[in-house]
């Protein structure tokens, strides 16, 4: 057992764990954040997707010992305090989830996609999201929800720019 100092959702966390313990189980069993899900244990399904320094990673393939103390980990619980993230809202608007089990991972991937590509095409979405399996088959709605979130982000940033311009006058 070793002691690891982690930053999860902007909180300092101290964990005693074996070095090879995947972050998935550290997050779920040691830090008690249950939104990150176990799906396959092989990095094949994306249910366990978290962000490490803003990049999506499969937490089931990320040993705790590989995470630097300065590394910033974000889980589904960390993307907004009260379901106000634009992607979460789009997911509700489009009624994406069915069983919902894969959706934390889907949302974490979608947030990462929109951080790098503010206006993805269907093809961009398909390429980026192909690592996340949904057995209920919500893919069509995931596509629409990502487009909706992108449109909302665009109009929000547009109105921000407009406000800035107006205030500078």
């Amino acid at each position: 057992m070793k002691t690891y100092h982690l930053n999860i959702n902007n909180k300092a966390v101290r964990v005693e764990a074996e070095a090879d313990t995947p972050m998935l189980w550290v997050i779920r069993d040691y830090v008690h954040l249950k939104g990150t899900k176990f799906g396959c244990g092989m990095g094949l399904c994306g249910a366990c997707t978290i962000h490490l320094d803003g990049q999506p990673v499969r937490s089931c393939q990320t040993p705790v010992s590989s995470v630097k103390a300065t590394g910033k980990i974000t889980t589904i619980e960390g993307i907004s305090a009260n379901i106000e993230h634009v992607v979460q809202k789009a997911w509700i608007e489009e009624q994406v989830p069915q069983c919902g089990y894969c959706q934390s991972g889907q949302i974490m991937s979608a947030v990462a996609l929109l951080n790098t590509n503010a206006d993805p095409t269907d093809e961009d979405i398909d390429n980026y999201m192909a690592g996340n399996i949904c057995r209920c088959g919500t893919y069509q709605r995931i596509r629409s929800a990502i487009h909706l979130a992108a449109a909302r982000m665009k109009s929000e940033s547009g109105s921000r720019e407009k406000n800035l311009k107006q205030s500078s006058h």
Binding site: V96, P97, C134, C136, G137, T138
Partner: protein, 727 residues
Amino acid sequence: MSKINNIHVNRRDFLRYTGLSGAALVLGIAPANADESVGISNLSLLEEGHSLSPYVIIEKSGKITLFSTRPEMGQGVYQSIPALIAEELEISQDQYTVKQTGGEKQFGGAQFAGGSFSVRSDYFALRKVGAAAREMLISAASRQWNVPESECYAENARIFHRPSGKSAGYGELAESASTLEVPANPRLKDAKDFKLLGKSVKRQDIPLKVSGRAVFGIDVEIPGMVYASVERCPVFGATLKDYDKSASLKVPGVENVVEVEKVFGVYKTKGVAVIAGNYWSALKGRRALKINWDYQGKEYFNSQDYAASLRKLAEKEGVVDAAVGDFDKGFAESTKKIEAFYETPFVSHSTMEAMNCTAHWKEEGKLEVWASTQVPSDTMRDLTGRYNLKEENVLIHTCFNGGGFGRRLAIDFIIEAVNLSKSIKKPVKLIWTREDDMQSGPFRPPTFSSLKGGISGDGKLLAFQHKVISPSIMAFLNPDFDKTKLDGNMTEGISHQKYEIPNMKNLFVYSDIHVPLLWWRSVTSSTLAFSHECFIDELAHTAGKDPMAFRLQMLTKASDARRVLQKLKEVSGWDVPMAEGRGRGVAQWEFFAGLGGQVIEVTRQSDKSVKIDKVFAVIDLGTVVNPDTVKAQVEGAVVMGITAAIKNGITFANGKTEQSNFHDNPVLRINEMPPVEVHILAEGGENIKGVGEPGLPPVAPALANAIFAATGIRVRKMPFDIDNLTS
């Protein structure tokens, strides 16, 4: 409806269960008489010894609780079932909380989700409960205000007096309403006045599911809990010989290694469980186990031999499923005759949440269980019987199911977890790995089909025969099952399509197998629709007819199936010719769960490959509760249907499952999903059909028929690789 089968629950038991103190209006369903017709009852007037399923509780504080006996596994019942009560009670979705039942006897023996039954079973019964509560609250208000009931109405969880404008909240009226007789025939609302039913209202479980807050079985944590992973024999039918646990016990975090029994169908098998303070340690400890199994001769079993045995069995006559006219005579008199043989594979359910259960065997005779399960009632029945426990000493928490698809109709993983907790005397969370989940089964069985058809001189289907050769789910689940008789589960739908065929004789040949089997979304219809509807297509081409016209020609009488095909013809633009290299296929299927049909369009990419362009789906429902949920279910069924059609199934070699995870038993991914356009036929009325399953059976045949149209390749074996097609 009549499935609600209450046993005794008295008022004291009920109050203890709900934790209610003080007066409240509690309304539920109680069997009115011996024929199991149901009436609505009021708990406070219930005679001692009479029973009640309390679906509505209105407390003096104004708090409203609605109970749902239907586990949520993605199909949307968390919204649609309570909405049946809420509609009639005139409350909005933010004015009540939903409580999921856990097999308690007061809610009867039909607490389950499966067979696309939930909404159609509860539709009128729960509306009646809501309507009765509304009328009692109106009655209480009219007495309190000394005004006629006709001047009062319910809205937004309040009763209003129309002339004076005064009003009272449900909580204020609950106590006096609870003293009133329940109206025998409460008036149900007219559909035109619905605020929730028939509307695409938002599901209340979705905010929980986009924020990581929904509690699935795997998310449960209880004080003092340990984790377990179990090594089971990979060869079906093998037994545990001996094992060495010394290396496992040296793994840091591992606390204990014990044998544990799993019970399912005809099997009672022992595995070796590693118990640890955290799950990762349990997994590592499991890898360090050294186990010797006794394979019992089952290590020679493989898929090729099994498939060959099914083909051989096709030579048998079989038992009759149904017969119309004289098949042999009709076939002999036919001008054109064709025969074909179709094959389908075993498939896994592969729910995203692998099987898991948290169990706490407490001091003498008390048990608490947390699980993602489709069957709270069966779980209660089984556990109380198996361990000789009183029902009031067993508490089952029905969690959100991370996918069901039929897999969670079995409770093998629950029994395994309870056995473990009983053995180690601690609360334990048992989590199956993805490999455990995919390799252990149970699987949807394959069906092989031998088909014959004859066309008359004027191009009509004169004689038709569908012989099914398959193992039997019921024979696996029940050792006393009579294998010499017809198993109607395995011939599902083949004799009940609406096609008017003058001479038909359908048959069944049973095949033995030792691999665990279970129902899977749309069950046998998921394979039989493929062989049946593809062969109908073959017959259409043999007759020189358009496949849509050929089907409609056999549906001269008005029927739901005819309407589905006509709708498909219209929405898909069936009569608009397609460009060279493109093709469309059609299929429809009617079975226990309901009725759906699809047209699928494909484009030829090369001589041997196609791309799926578009799916037009029609589902026939009678009455719809949440159209958006219905669309979601059909979209999802199409995805699952395409996976089953074109991705690897499950195969066996050396007695073991060959596939282990999503790399070798893949499911459809987002980049492979075609656009799906869903059309709902809901003409109203009391003939309500199911939603969860009917979107699946037409997928494979519609796709295979489209492939034939585009490429001339006739696919007769599932799965088929659309990138490398062979006939």
